[in-house]
Symmetry: C2
Subunit: 390 residues, 2 copies
């Protein structure tokens, strides 16, 4: 990017089942919180980028740009919606940063929002299946979680693993989520209980899969020096990249290697001039434990087939050498699909500012990384954020 | 924008009912044609931006970025989908230009694609209704065309007009479409026949409303000087802007003034340093004749309440002082929703290059303008293109 983009403010709703609230209402709460955090008003905003996966199906509402802009009092500004399954949030952040870096806008609000509870039962299953390849996957009746089941079985087979080997990911996520007041799940998972959870799509069980949920998160991006000067601690976007792989699993060169993650992470590391070892916190897209293991491998934090060890060896807790899912991740904070990527960046921002309260990672983290995936890694976005000390 | 973006190639499919072809297949044809026109191959492309309105509902396929990237042989690149109702194509062009201008990419393919014939009957009506405000409009059972009927009636009432006063728009569009081999409709509309057409949503009739259709159009954007040097006539994007207004008609300050068009056109004119009088060709979003009249007014080509006169006075034909819809527009070329904005820019490119064959506007046009709207003007994008003489 030609111009440095900074995060001036973040805000988000609690994640969960918001039966009584609309999509625009959730977005509004997040946008207002982020603008307040940045000490800005609606008049300071040049553009709005909305990340959302399924509102057309979930809420019979497409064309979210003008709906949310008007609801948030952002009258007349440019507004658009990015769709990229669960990676919509990360893609929206990239679009917001590009609008600024291209000189088109000075200050952009990026909001990720998903309202899942408008759509229930078979319709919800059908809606989620549109995130897969319609002609080669969904047509056979398979769902995203069932595809994850196939992927996990393959991973276990290739590396000779048992269910217990994955439990560290979920135990860590719930441990963190239990201290996050905005998390959907605050129960802890006891060691040894993971493998015995009720089955969802063999071998993916209830303690393995992250829950789809309602939520909205917003981030104020800016290159306006006056705005940056007046906030206590701006966070700089030092890397931002995206890449793709085939949507259908069987069309990938190696289904146990997330090529899109590898490409996106590599590009972001190159932009920032750093190596994986320099990352202090990682928000991974832990929709399924096997997906976290594969991300750690593809992004350079572990050798191929070794990603699960980081959890098994307890290295991903808040006082470990690579804290992962520090606010509970998708698994415990919850997975509001198109909002997830924006939650990740908001949470990293709080960690780098030292404002994560009970969830604060010790040792003043300087550099955080977000991996946001869609369609089991067919879209991957990476953001690297750095604390700017004055 | 910090860096000039040029159009290196364009390509599109015929518009119509492509029963036997998939969305990805239509996109592929357009992308291949555009790359061939630019004398480039898939390896030269850094990113793909997809403009699409309704594939989640029409074809049960969300997450179009990786689907189309892989199908077009653009393996591993960044790919994302922009959704903004019928303005998705124009928004996608803006995102593509921003990726280049921000320094993230050098060469980007923007493809607009819509496959409407996967979805028929009541499901199609429901799908189209998601482009309106779900809570204030669609909930009452109204459709986009019915909203256009209300708008047209209001316009006629305010300015004391009859149906005949609008016929010039459709006569012109069909006159141009009749000579466009890629147009959906090639019949001409005889003067005096317009007002008697079968009614769709009073007063909008069959000769007033543009047909939704299948189609894909692609544009290759680049800032790579080597690529620009090797093509005969690069076309420069000298203005690009977007704006929004309330989605629901009744929430707008003045429903007979398209504020989003006014804002977007004003910004684009300012970027290019020109006035409306300097525009040689206008591709308007002529989904309904009243929408064209209102666009001409909001963009500065006519006084308020006078937009219809440009057609009534025959000033919009190819040899008039402001040629409009030179390839048939949405009305005759057809309206492939999220692809429409990309068709407009591709068609202007051909006009500026002097390659519009039977449709060529005389006098070597230098400057073309595209107005792409979504949700009856709640999203508006403007592009200004200029011929670069060497």
């Amino acid at each position: 990017m030609r111009q440095h983009v900074s995060i001036a403010g973040v805000g988000y709703t609690a994640v969960g089942e918001h039966w009584e609230r609309s999509l625009a209402d959730l977005a509004l709460e997040a946008i207002q919180a982020a603008l307040a955090d940045a000490r800005l008003g609606p008049g300071d905003v040049d553009a709005l980028v909305v990340g959302n996966a399924l509102a057309s199906l979930f809420s019979s509402q497409a064309h979210l740009g003008p709906i949310i802009a008007a609801h948030a009092g952002l009258h007349g500004i440019e507004a658009l919606r990015i769709e990229g399954a669960d990676a919509a949030g990360g893609l929206a952040l990239r679009s917001g940063a590009a609008l600024i870096s291209s000189g088109t806008a000075q200050t952009v609000v990026v909001v990720g929002v998903e309202k899942t509870t408008d759509c229930l039962g078979p319709e919800r299953v059908s809606a989620l299946a549109t995130l897969l390849d319609a002609e080669y996957e969904a047509v056979h009746g398979i769902t995203p979680t069932a595809v994850a089941g196939l992927l996990m079985r393959r991973y276990m087979h290739a590396y000779g693993l048992e269910m217990d080997d994955f439990e560290g990911f979920s135990i860590n996520a719930h441990q963190n989520g239990s201290q996050n007041p905005k998390a959907m799940f605050r129960n802890q998972i006891k060691p040894g209980r993971f493998a015995a959870a009720p089955m969802v799509a063999d071998p993916v069980n209830l303690f393995d899969v992250a829950p789809e949920a309602d939520g909205a998160a917003a981030v104020v991006l800016t290159a306006n020096e006056q705005i940056i000067q007046q906030i206590p601690m701006p966070i700089r976007v030092v890397g931002s990249a995206a890449a793709t792989d085939s949507l259908a699993l069987h069309q990938r060169e190696d289904m146990l290697f997330l090529r899109a993650v590898n490409l996106a992470a590599g590009r972001a590391f190159e932009q920032a001039g750093i190596t994986p070892g320099q990352v202090d916190i990682l928000e991974a897209h832990d929709a399924y434990t096997v997906l976290t293991a594969l991300q750690l491998e593809a992004a350079g934090f572990a050798e191929k087939g070794q990603g699960w060890r980081l959890a098994a060896e307890n290295r991903i807790s808040r006082d470990g050498d690579l804290p992962v899912s520090t606010f509970g991740g998708l698994k415990a904070r919850g997975n509001p699909l198109g909002a997830t990527g924006v939650y990740q960046v908001a949470e990293i921002t709080l960690q780098l500012r030292g404002e994560a309260d009970d969830l604060q990672v010790p040792g003043e983290p300087q550099l955080g990384m977000a991996l946001n995936l869609g369609g089991l890694g067919s879209t991957a976005t990476t953001h690297l954020l750095e604390r700017v000390d004055r």
